[in-house]
Symmetry: none
DNA sequence: AATGAATGAGCTTTCATTCAT
DNA sequence: CATGAATGAAAGCTCATTCAT
């Protein structure tokens, strides 16, 4: 076995089919994306591995080459969804510290608009995150709630800064309000789930959220600016 | 619902075998109540008909004498849940037409407190309605959303009256605000789902909802009463 | 109608199909006996639950109503086999304390004959116990070996008594010889496995075993010849 | 391609690509040896081709280039095992025609010791031959039994010679006794399977076998005692 | 009317085998 | 030649539903 008669002078003994780097990652992606669609479409429980495989255009066995179980796929689908949400909202580009209530509201408005844009493009996204994932088990439910918590934490920081800067009332509880602000966008989400989503409606809702945040419900004379 | 032994419009006294009128209805009730408990406890998919039958103290076959399928039972469980929610909130006793923002807010607060009281007594209720039911199929999802719509309609009427009476700003869109007000209680619900629910927390949230509704977030000087 | 048609006066409220006592045990037996046959015929691994169910004349689901897993069925099949072996050999009727080597040998001969009679009737029995069971896992292998140990223990006692009585050489190690005596019947068993079993052959072998034991175990003075 | 790439008996100096004649055979050997190890370790059924290939350091596909099926590999593993047993026992060096019972017994003892030495070195060997192989199908079972037959034939010849020479009783049935002598070593094997094997135990057993054989086989006059 | 034994379709998962590279 | 990615048949097992009693 001195001079290997079999291959190449160069050090790497290239035997067999070359391993095509990145294939594994591509396949995983392909399967997760298919799962994202079919889970959203028919629900996690109602989707069989065979459906999933068929949609991905691979055999059932191939699915198990890349994922240990159906449940694990759901995990990755959730990650994938979160990833997409982050890409869509792109928090980096939001993080300018607001110096007035108007600015703060504007930032929130921007984030909401971006999220809605994603949902408009892919309505199943919402169902997957909000409805499917929550129903599987405690772990995934925790992850959904954790996502909301994450967003809330951003807002908490902004509100605290607002209070320190004086443009947010000091008797506002940042923790509490952060969550509530997030909830204010839920009616819009529900509309989407209902399939009644439309740009005009979205406008109305976002406008109302701004209103409520800036003014509450109190009548004009009471406020008197 | 007084002394009617026989149901139905005809009052002909059924001799021979009174057939234990209402027995069927009692059985259905018994099964639905059991299903309510076990579905909430273990989830719809994870619950087998045998679990359900065992909990109800009847045979599996008996379940199918009263319901055509597992899915149909869920329908009835949902109805039953809604029924309980209505009993708890008891909208009849809320419907006094408010004549001031404070009164309106107080009414909402009362309704919210009643709903929370139910959830505190039976936390699984929330899970069933919000999480389990939504994940089954479109029809049930629609029903969940319909429930929200129902509550919103109440609020819409109140807001319209408020606008007419002048204690609600006229630029408030009743439809939109109604939904949003409902959403404001969601953070509290999420806390319950997370198992972090506590009376103090609930107080904080409800207080904040009142605040936001009455004042918005604007700083005190801006408001100037 | 005074007597309630529904519930009856006697204490036991007999509702539904009567539970047919002993059915469960009968079904278990039926399935185990089928398994005994098909496992022996095709081997444990090669037998599917569907084969087993088909042979038993029941649905697959029914199998799982009575056994938790395929493996558990094998356990019971093993028990069943041991049970049959015991019935066939009927050790109770063997246990007369022998007072001479001839008597001891006769007893052993009788036991061997009975075992062979079973195997002749049901050759698959042997395969199941000796070959199939051993190959599944450590636990079953231990049980097979334990069975041999059990038989050996009987012999050890007899040999000890024989030594004390003087009709077995005192330099015989009871533990060791007990196992060996058992092994002496193995060539006969192997013949059966080979399908070459015949009464004449069995005679030859048992005769030879007697020969070897009489010569090997006899107390020194007795041998003389 | 002028140069036959395929090896074969012809000795024409293969220019260009000698094709590493015997490479195929080496590969086969490598795979079989790996299979020997992993089959013995985890069992035939429990071993996947991937395990096997990994242990052999080749791809799964390569395995199928050299063997048509998993089953065929087992065949070769069995051959390999027999081969090892023969190497260990080395019958050539045993075949000196014994001229006395003591010599015969000594020869058998030597063979047994060699076989035990192998088993002590590689306990899995026993499991493979005795337990795994037997359970697969009739063909392999036959081969296991054939192995015993082979050893028995050796003994038959020796016994016949012994009878002719007069140092073995003439009423000994060579066929029958040959098998029995082989069986006498089984308790020792079982101990190994049980994991209770130890040199002392082995001594005891072999001693007892010698004892029983000397007494059982010896010609009448010799015994006297 | 009530029962629970029986069923079988369908589930997730495994793995011997094939084949493009 | 060698490879390991891909495959799909088939496994064990579950459970909503049916039905004899």
């Amino acid at each position: 076995m001195t001079a290997d008669p079999n291959v190449d002078a160069d050090s790497a003994p290239r035997r067999g089919r070359p391993k095509e780097a990145g294939l594994a990652e591509r396949r995983r992606r392909q399967i997760v994306e298919s799962a994202y669609v079919v889970f959203a479409e028919r629900g996690y429980e109602a989707t069989g591995i065979s459906d999933l495989a068929a949609h991905a255009g691979v055999g059932q066995g191939t699915v198990y080459r890349y994922f240990a179980s159906k449940r694990e796929i759901l995990d990755h689908v959730f990650d994938f969804s979160v990833e997409r949400l982050f890409e869509a909202v792109d928090p980096e580009t939001l993080a300018s510290t607001p110096t007035s209530l108007a600015e703060l509201v504007e930032t929130i408005q921007l984030a909401a608009n971006r999220a809605f844009a994603l949902i408009e493009r892919e309505p199943e996204f919402l169902r997957l995150i909000l409805v499917e994932a929550s129903a599987i088990d405690q772990e995934l439910k925790d992850r959904v709630l954790g996502l909301e918590q994450l967003a809330a934490n951003f807002l908490v920081k902004s509100l605290r800064r607002g209070i320190k800067s004086g443009f947010v009332r000091s008797d506002v509880d940042p923790q509490v309000f952060a969550h509530m602000i997030l909830m204010l966008i839920l009616p819009g989400l529900l509309q989407e789930l209902r399939g009644e989503g439309s740009p005009e409606n979205r406008e109305r809702y976002i406008g109302a959220v701004v209103h409520i945040m800036m003014r509450g419900l109190c009548a004009p004379m009471t406020v008197s600016v």
